[in-house]
C-alpha cells in the first residue's frame, strides 16, 4: 500500500486506474468507507483503455487507444498504441517515457502529480482529507456507482468543474470536465484481474 501511495501520486489516470483495480467487491449499503475498504485486494489488472479529448471546436474527439497493466508491486505500464505508439511507466521513480535509448525519466510533472494526490485520499480512505478539497458525492450501489468530486479551492475551481468516476465491479469511466469547456473521458471497458506479469512486462518495469 505504501508503495502505492508514492506511485499513485504521479498521475491522475494512474490513480483512477487503481480504483479500477481495487473497486472489485460488491457490497450492499455502499459508502466511501466500504469503497476504500475494498481497495486493497487484487495484485494485477490488465485491460484496454480509450481516451477521448472532447474539444468545443472539434466535431470529433481526439481519441487514443492502448493497453494498460497495473501491478500493485511494480506500478503502472501505459501503452499507447494509436494514433501513435508511446509507452509510459509510472512507479516510485516517477513518470518515464520509452525512447529509442530506453526509459527516460520525465521531469517533475507539477500539476499532473497533484491531481492524483486527491485520489490518493480516496485510496487511503481519508475522507476528511478529501472533503477539505472536494465536495464528495457517492451514489448508486457497489455494482454501479458514481463518485462525483467538486472542487472547493479557488485554484482547483479555475481548472475543472467536476470529476465523475463511474464503476461497477471495476472502474469503467473517468470524466474530467474542465472550466474552459473541454472535457477528457477515459474508458476502461474490459479490465480483467490477472495473475502474473509477462516476461516483457517484467522487463519493462525493470530492476
Amino acid at each position: 500500500m505504501s508503495r502505492w501511495t508514492r506511485t499513485a501520486r504521479r498521475a491522475l489516470w494512474a490513480s483512477a486506474a487503481t480504483l479500477a483495480l481495487f473497486g472489485a467487491s460488491l457490497a450492499q449499503a455502499f459508502d466511501l468507507t466500504q469503497l476504500s475498504a475494498q481497495l486493497a485486494k487484487p495484485a494485477l489488472v490488465r485491460g484496454p483503455f480509450i481516451q477521448e479529448k472532447h474539444l468545443r471546436s472539434l466535431p470529433q474527439p481526439l481519441t487514443s487507444r492502448g493497453q494498460f497493466v497495473l501491478s500493485r508491486e511494480h506500478g503502472l505500464l501505459w501503452q499507447l498504441r494509436s494514433p501513435l505508439q508511446q509507452d509510459y511507466r509510472i512507479d516510485d521513480r516517477g513518470i518515464a517515457r520509452r525512447t529509442a535509448q530506453g526509459w527516460q525519466q520525465q521531469p517533475g510533472q507539477d500539476v499532473a502529480a497533484q491531481q492524483s494526490r486527491l485520489f490518493l485520499a480516496v485510496l487511503k480512505g481519508d475522507h476528511a482529507g478529501l472533503a477539505e478539497d472536494f465536495e464528495l458525492q457517492l451514489s448508486g450501489d457497489a455494482e454501479a456507482w458514481q463518485l462525483d468530486l467538486t472542487p472547493r479551492s479557488r485554484l482547483l475551481q479555475q481548472i475543472f468543474n467536476v470529476i465523475h468516476i463511474q464503476g461497477g465491479a471495476l472502474v469503467e469511466r473517468i470524466e474530467l470536465a474542465e472550466t474552459q469547456g473541454d472535457s477528457t473521458l477515459l474508458r476502461l471497458p474490459q479490465s480483467q484481474p490477472g495473475t502474473a506479469l509477462s516476461e516483457a512486462e517484467r522487463h519493462a518495469f525493470g530492476p
Binding site: W13, L55, L62, D110, L155
Partner: protein
C-alpha cells in the same frame, strides 16, 4: 598654564566651566535620544560604498532589498497534510501581525489573467531552445506537439488546446517555472518541495519598513523562534533564511558583548583602582570613562545621524584609554610614599599636565589617522574616539582635581616594590647582555615571526555569521533550487530593444555557463520579452510551418483551425517590456528593470547558484553595455588594498607624532619615544605569525592604534616625574586598564573584533615591556626627581 592652576580662582572656575559643558552635552544627548536610541544594527551599512556610479548603486540596492526585507521559511513534516496545515497556520498568524507587509504561503493565482497574458505573449516568451527547434527542425517540433495532444501524462496546460494548437503556449509555460523542485499543491495552493520522505511547505514574508529599523530584526527573530517552537511541537522542522535574522543575531551579539566586555572592563578597573589607592573616593576617576562614551555617542550621532552597533563595541575599548588620564597624576602618589610627602591634586596636575596634554595629542593623531581610510566604520570610530578622548581629558583636567582635592591617597606600597623589582631585574639583565644584544635577539624573533605571518581578507570575518543561520540558508537553497548570488550583470542600452538584444546576447554566453555547470541558472528580461531581432526569424519559420503540419491534420485537427492560429500568431504585436512586467507573469522579473534615465535604459541579469566567479569576468568583457557587478569581490580586494594604505597611514601618523614631540623632547627624544611603540607593534605582528594567527585589516588597525597609545606610555616614562619606579607603576596601571578593555575584545565572537583585540593586546604588552627604554639616562633622571612636586 601650570602656574594658573595654582590659583584658587582658577581651581574654582575650571570645574564650573566643565560642569556647564557637561550639562550641555547631556541636553544634546537627551535631544538625540528623544525618539529612541539612534542605533544602527546593519553591519553592512559600515562597508564602503561601491566604486560604481549611481546606476550601479541603484542596482545593488535593488538586489539587496529582498535580503533586508524578505524572510523565507520552509516548514517540513513527514505528513504532507501536516506540513500544509502548519504553513497555513503560520501564514494566517503572520498575516495578522502588523510586522509584515505581505505574507505568502499559497498560490492565489488568478488563472484567467495568467492565461490571457500567456496567450498574448506566447511568441515573446518562447525559450531559446524551443525557438531554435521550431526554426531548424519544424518536423520534429510538430511531431512533439502531436504526441503531446495524446499524452495522458502531459500535465496541465494553462491554455486550452484550441487556443494553442501548435503548443507555443505550453512550451512558454514550461519555461516560466524553471524551479521544478517547488510544486503547487492544487487543493490548498501551498508551495511544496518533496525531499527524502519529508514535505516542505514554503512561506515568504516581507516586513514593514526595513532591517535598518532597529526594532525589526529582534522582533522578526522572536517570531521565527516561536514559529519554530510551534512546528517542532507538532513533530515538524522549520528552516528560515533572511538578512534580518543575521542582523538580529549580530545585534544580540553586539549588545551582549557591549554589556559584558564593557561591564567586566569597568569592574576590573574599579577593583584595580581600589586595590591600588585604597580610598573609595578615588573611584570618581572613573568619571572620564562615562563622559568619554557620552561625548563619543553624541559626536557620532551629530556627524552621521546614527551610531552603528559595531562602533559602540569597538568604542567601548575607549574605556581603557579614558581611564588612563587620571592615572597620570594619581600614580604620582607613590612618590609620596617614599618621600613621606603629601599628594595634592592641583599641584600634581600642574606638574603632569604637559605629559597629559602630549598624550592627548598623540592619541588623537593615532585615532584620527583611522578616519582617512575608506571604511565608514573606522571613520565612525575615529570621530567617536576623538570626541571621547577630548571629553575625558577635559574631565580629568578640569573636574577631577577639584573632587580629589584634600583626598589622602593610601597607595599600596607592595605595588611600588613590585615596580622597583621589575626595574632591578631589567637592570640585571641589561648588565649581562647590554642593549644591543637584546635588540638583536628581539629583531631576530621579529624576523622569524614575520616570515610565518599570513594575511587574510574575507568579508566573512566581518560578519562572523551564526553557523545555524548558514546551515538553514544552505538547506533552503538546496531544497528550493534557489541559490541567489550577490554577483549580477548590469546591462545598459540606448533603448528598450537594444537592452533586450544585449541581454539576449549575454544569455547565449550564460547558457554556455549553465551547460558546463559553472552556473545553475539566471533570469534576464529577454526571457520575458524576446527582442524583435529574434522574433523575426521565428515569424519566418512560422510562415513555412504549413509544409510540416501533416501529423496534426492526421490527428484530426481541422486545417482551418491551424490556419487561424497561425494568422493570429503572425499578426499579433508582442507586448512591450513594461506591459509584460505589469502582468502577472512578469512578477519575478520586475526587480530586474531599472527603467529609463537620461542615459537610456538599464536592466539587471540575476544569477543563481554560481560556482566559479572567475568565469563571469570573461563573459562580460566581449559584450557592449554589459557590466559584471561583484560587490563581494570588490570588497575583498578593497580590504587588501586598504592594508597597504593603512601601513602608510601608520607611518604618516608616526611622523606627525614625532613632529609634535619634537617641541618638548627634541628630535632625538621624540624619535626614541616613537620608535619604542613601533618596535612593540612589530613584535606584536611577529607574535601573530608565531601564533599562526592571520594578519587582517583589523589587526593592522589595532597596531595602528598601538602606535598612538604606546607613545602615551613612553611619554609617561620620559617625563619620569616622581622617579622611574613610580612612572613605571603609572604605566603599568594605565596599561592594565587599557588591556582590560582591549584584551576582552579578544573574546568577541565576531572574528573581526576578536582579531583587533588580539593585535592590540599583544601590542600593549610589548609597549609596557619596552617603555623603560624611554627614560633618559641617569643624570637627567636625577634632575627629574628634583622636579617632583611632592
Amino acid at each position: 598654564m601650570p602656574l594658573a592652576l595654582e590659583r584658587p580662582a582658577m581651581q574654582r572656575l575650571l570645574p564650573r566651566l566643565f560642569l556647564a559643558l557637561l550639562l550641555a552635552l547631556l541636553a544634546l544627548s537627551a535631544w538625540q535620544w528623544r525618539a529612541g536610541p539612534p542605533l544602527q544594527a546593519s553591519m553592512l551599512a559600515l562597508l564602503p560604498q561601491g566604486a560604481g556610479d549611481e546606476l550601479v548603486q541603484q542596482a545593488e540596492q535593488r538586489m539587496q532589498e529582498p535580503l533586508n526585507r524578505e524572510l523565507l521559511i520552509l516548514v517540513g513534516h513527514a505528513e504532507r497534510e501536516q506540513a500544509i496545515a502548519l504553513v497555513q497556520r503560520l501564514g494566517q498568524q503572520w498575516a495578522e501581525s502588523a510586522r509584515f507587509e505581505q505574507v505568502q504561503w499559497n498560490l492565489q493565482a488568478d488563472l484567467a489573467a495568467l492565461r490571457q497574458q500567456l496567450r498574448a505573449s506566447r511568441l515573446a516568451l518562447m525559450p531559446r531552445a524551443d525557438r531554435q527547434l521550431l526554426i531548424e527542425q519544424p518536423d520534429s517540433f510538430i511531431q512533439q506537439r502531436a504526441a503531446q495532444l495524446f499524452d495522458t501524462f502531459a500535465g496541465f496546460s494553462l491554455l486550452p488546446i484550441e487556443q494553442d494548437w501548435l503548443g507555443l503556449g505550453a512550451r512558454a509555460q514550461q519555461a516560466l517555472n524553471p524551479h521544478q523542485r517547488v510544486q503547487t499543491d492544487l487543493a490548498s495552493g501551498a508551495l511544496l518541495v518533496e525531499d527524502q520522505g519529508l514535505t516542505w511547505a514554503l512561506l515568504r514574508a516581507r516586513i514593514q519598513g526595513d532591517s535598518f529599523d532597529l526594532q525589526a530584526p529582534p522582533a522578526i527573530a522572536a517570531q521565527v523562534a516561536s514559529a519554530r517552537t510551534l512546528v517542532t511541537a507538532e513533530g515538524g522542522q522549520l528552516l528560515a533564511a533572511s538578512g534580518l535574522l543575521y542582523a538580529a543575531a549580530g545585534q544580540a551579539k553586539a549588545s551582549r558583548e557591549i554589556s559584558w566586555i564593557g561591564g567586566t572592563a569597568i569592574l576590573g578597573i574599579l577593583l584595580l583602582l581600589l586595590l591600588s589607592y585604597r580610598r573609595l573616593r578615588v573611584l570618581v576617576s572613573l568619571l572620564p570613562i562615562g563622559v568619554a562614551l557620552l561625548a563619543g555617542c553624541a559626536a557620532c550621532v551629530l556627524v552621521f545621524g546614527q551610531i552603528n552597533a559595531l562602533t559602540l563595541v569597538l568604542g567601548a575599548s575607549l574605556i581603557g584609554v579614558a581611564a588612563d588620564y587620571p592615572q597620570h597624576y594619581l600614580s604620582k602618589s607613590w612618590g609620596g610614599v617614599r618621600d613621606q610627602g603629601n599628594w595634592h591634586s592641583w599641584p600634581v596636575l600642574a606638574a603632569t599636565l604637559p605629559g597629559l596634554s602630549l598624550s592627548l595629542g598623540t592619541n588623537l593623531i593615532g585615532y584620527l589617522a583611522l578616519g582617512f581610510t575608506p571604511f565608514p566604520v573606522l571613520t565612525q570610530i575615529a570621530v567617536f574616539s576623538a570626541a571621547g578622548l577630548i571629553a575625558a581629558y577635559l574631565c580629568a583636567v578640569c573636574l577631577l582635581p577639584a573632587w580629589l582635592d584634600g583626598l589622602q591617597l593610601q597607595p599600596a606600597p607592595g605595588l611600588l616594590r613590585l615596580s622597583e623589582k621589575l626595574l632591578a631585574a631589567r637592570a640585571r639583565l641589561l648588565a649581562r647582555t647590554g642593549n644591543w644584544k637584546l635588540l638583536a635577539v628581539l629583531l631576530l624573533f621579529c624576523a622569524a615571526g614575520l616570515l610565518q605571518l599570513q594575511t587574510q581578507n574575507d568579508l566573512r570575518q566581518w560578519l562572523g555569521a551564526e553557523p545555524q543561520l548558514l546551515d538553514d540558508a544552505q538547506r533552503i537553497a538546496e531544497l528550493t533550487g534557489q541559490q541567489p548570488t550577490s554577483q549580477f550583470f548590469l546591462v545598459r542600452a540606448a533603448d528598450e530593444q537594444q537592452l533586450l538584444q544585449r541581454q539576449a546576447a549575454l544569455s547565449v554566453q550564460l547558457d554556455g555557463a549553465v551547460a558546463d555547470g559553472t552556473l545553475l541558472g539566471y533570469r534576464a528580461l529577454s526571457q520575458l520579452v524576446a527582442p524583435a531581432s529574434q522574433l523575426q526569424p521565428l515569424r519566418e519559420a512560422l510562415q513555412d510551418l504549413p509544409q510540416h503540419w501533416q501529423p496534426l491534420l492526421a490527428a484530426g485537427i481541422p486545417e482551418a483551425a491551424l490556419n487561424t492560429e497561425l494568422a493570429q500568431l503572425l499578426n499579433s504585436d508582442q507586448p512591450r517590456l513594461e506591459q509584460a512586467l505589469a502582468g502577472p507573469l512578469g512578477e519575478a522579473w520586475r526587480p530586474l528593470w531599472l527603467g529609463h534615465s537620461a542615459a537610456g535604459v538599464a536592466g539587471i541579469v540575476s544569477l543563481q547558484g554560481l560556482n566559479d566567479t572567475a568565469a563571469l569576468h570573461g563573459i562580460a568583457s566581449g559584450l557592449d553595455g554589459v557590466q559584471l557587478v561583484d560587490r563581494l569581490g570588490e570588497l575583498n580586494s578593497l580590504f587588501s588594498a586598504t592594508q597597504l594604505s593603512a601601513a602608510q597611514l601608520k607611518l604618516l601618523s608616526c611622523a606627525a607624532i614625532v613632529l609634535l614631540l619634537c617641541l618638548p623632547f627634541g628630535f632625538g627624544g621624540a624619535l626614541r619615544i616613537v620608535c619604542l611603540p613601533l618596535l612593540a607593534a612589530l613584535t606584536a605582528l611577529a607574535c601573530l605569525g608565531w601564533l599562526g594567527q592571520p594578519l587582517t585589516l583589523f589587526s593592522l588597525f589595532g597596531l595602528l592604534l598601538i602606535s598612538a597609545i604606546g607613545v602615551d606610555y613612553a611619554i609617561l616614562m620620559r617625563e619620569n616625574i616622581g622617579g622611574q619606579a613610580v612612572s613605571l607603576l603609572g604605566t603599568l596601571l594605565a596599561g592594565l586598564t587599557s588591556w582590560l578593555s582591549f584584551g576582552l575584545l579578544l573574546l568577541s565572537q565576531t572574528p573581526a573584533i576578536a582579531n583587533f583585540g588580539l593585535a592590540i593586546s599583544l601590542g600593549l604588552f610589548f609597549c609596557f615591556l619596552l617603555s623603560p627604554w624611554a627614560t633618559p639616562t641617569r643624570n637627567t633622571t636625577a634632575a627629574n626627581e628634583a622636579r617632583s612636586p611632592l
